[in-house]
């Protein structure tokens, strides 16, 4: 089935995401998508996608139980391509306010913590909102600035390092909706649910992965 030149992208399955949509969206963007539930599934892949909706603390427990936590950290620290989406984006940071304890340690790959989106007129923030570029980035090539993407979340990460911020979105107040740091990318919205704009973004991500390989 594989066309040979298609990139292999592993989508981490840790029980917190709609795996069908993200996998099919990656296939539609030109990749071979595999669902990875064990460290051994990561052999021979070109990029990782960390998807997810739901809460931070149980997600971290699942990643640890499945033995994926350290392989994921090692992967990113080695500078290999990785895309975090929604909860998978928030997990990249140091810690999250979400959960009963109000303080859940997360992956610590980017400095900053995930906090509740205060002052929002509606919460959860559900629906299509415009993504405004802070700086040009190849991830958004061919996508008009201010394009609508689909969001569904209540928490947002607050990067300590402003230089990683690629785009912001406003719901009550502005928050960071896209970051890039080397080959590590994070999106608060769901490209796999964002119709044509989301498709283009995933194509761009694969272009970056192919270019880095």
């Amino acid at each position: 089935m594989s066309g040979g030149s298609r990139l292999r992208v592993a989508v981490l399955d840790y029980g917190a995401a709609n795996m069908v949509s993200i996998s099919q969206a990656l296939v539609s963007a030109g990749a071979d998508a595999i669902v990875a539930a064990r460290p051994s599934d990561l052999a021979g892949v070109d990029a990782l996608v960390v998807p997810g909706v739901g809460a931070a603390a149980p997600a971290m427990v699942h990643l640890r139980e499945q033995g994926l936590l350290e392989p994921l950290r090692d992967w990113v620290r080695a500078g290999r391509p990785c895309l975090g989406i929604c909860l998978g984006f928030q997990l990249l940071f140091d810690a999250s306010d979400e959960g009963d304890s109000g303080d859940s340690p997360t992956l610590g790959l980017l400095a900053g913590r995930t906090v509740l989106l205060e002052d929002a007129p509606t919460l959860p923030h559900i629906g299509w909102n415009s993504v405004e570029a802070v700086r040009p980035h190849p991830l958004f090539e061919g996508i008009a600035d201010g394009s609508y993407f689909y969001f569904v979340h209540s928490f947002v990460p607050t990067p300590a390092d402003e230089s990683v911020v690629v785009a912001r979105t406003t719901h009550g107040r502005p928050f960071v909706s896209a970051v890039a740091s080397g080959s590590l990318y994070g999106l608060q919205f769901h490209p796999e649910k964002s119709a044509a704009a989301g498709h283009r973004l995933l194509v761009n991500f694969l272009g970056l992965v192919g270019g880095a390989a």
Binding site: Q24, G54, P124, K193
Partner: protein, 263 residues
């Protein structure tokens, strides 16, 4: 700025989109995945499948429909009708849906909303409320009761109070249908929508009564709805999603417009 959503709703029975009234005279209108993809291309911000399969044996078919739809229509997908347990919700989400809408099941077992919100997050839990206006003396504040089983059964619940409670229990969104207006094409019950949207912080989806683009504007502007759902006016091609969004944009409401690729 958050766009106001326009959501076509498809009634699905035994894996096919059907049209009919009161569950009788159902006519086959096509493949749900194909229609969902077409609506997505035309600018639908989300798709709702309402499973009206009568027999329990038909349920597996719905999962297959969800799977096929999630593989080709890259917009959010909500499934309502027939999901009664956390296990059934898990199966629907795993098949590729983003949200599940509970109606009768939530009235019968309110804890279901809490359990599902804990397990899958409140963003995945929609509480559908079918409301019917109670007779009231002229000049008195209007009131609505919750009805279930497609309007055939009354409950003891007052609709606004139930909406507030459903959110406290874990619902992340409310789908509010006026049973007085449903199928009548006489416009949304904006008083009902306002009564609920002014009392909750979660998004409210308006349903029941859409006749034309102006009704969508009224549901948002007068009713405070975040999203507007309709079925027949889209299926019968009386109005396009683009025409509805154009009217909303004209009225100053933020909407997501799409350039149709080819077609």
């Amino acid at each position: 700025m958050l766009a106001r959503r326009v959501i076509p709703c498809l009634d699905v029975a035994n894996g096919r989109v059907v049209k009919g009234t009161k569950f009788v005279d159902l006519t086959d209108e096509g493949d749900p995945a194909e229609l969902a993809e077409r609506y997505a291309r035309e600018g639908a911000d989300e798709i709702v499948f309402l499973d009206i399969t009568a027999a329990h044996e038909g349920r597996g078919t719905m999962l297959e429909v969800v799977r096929r739809t999630a593989s080709r229509a890259f917009v959010p997908l909500t499934v309502g009708g027939g999901v009664r347990t956390m296990i059934e919700m898990r199966d629907v989400l795993r098949a590729g849906a983003d949200k599940v809408s509970f109606n009768t099941a939530a009235v019968a077992d309110p804890d279901l909303l809490t359990d599902c919100a804990r397990k899958f997050g409140s963003q995945a839990v929609v509480c559908a409320i079918d409301a019917r206006r109670l007779p009231s003396a002229s000049g008195a504040e209007p009131a609505w009761e919750v009805v279930t089983h497609g309007g055939r059964r009354q409950t003891e619940l007052e609709a606004v109070a139930w909406a507030v409670r459903a959110v406290e229990l874990g619902a992340g969104e409310l789908l509010v249908t006026s049973m007085d207006r449903d199928g009548t094409r006489s416009g949304f019950d904006t008083e009902l929508l306002r009564a609920i949207s002014s009392r909750v912080r979660v998004p409210v989806i308006a349903s029941g009564g859409a006749a034309g683009p102006d009704d969508f504007v009224a549901a948002v502007r007068d009713g405070g709805a975040d999203a507007v759902l309709a079925a027949s006016i889209f299926h019968r091609r009386m109005h396009s999603i683009a025409a509805v969004k154009a009217a909303m944009a004209e009225a100053g409401l933020p909407v997501r417009t799409v350039e149709e690729a080819g077609s």
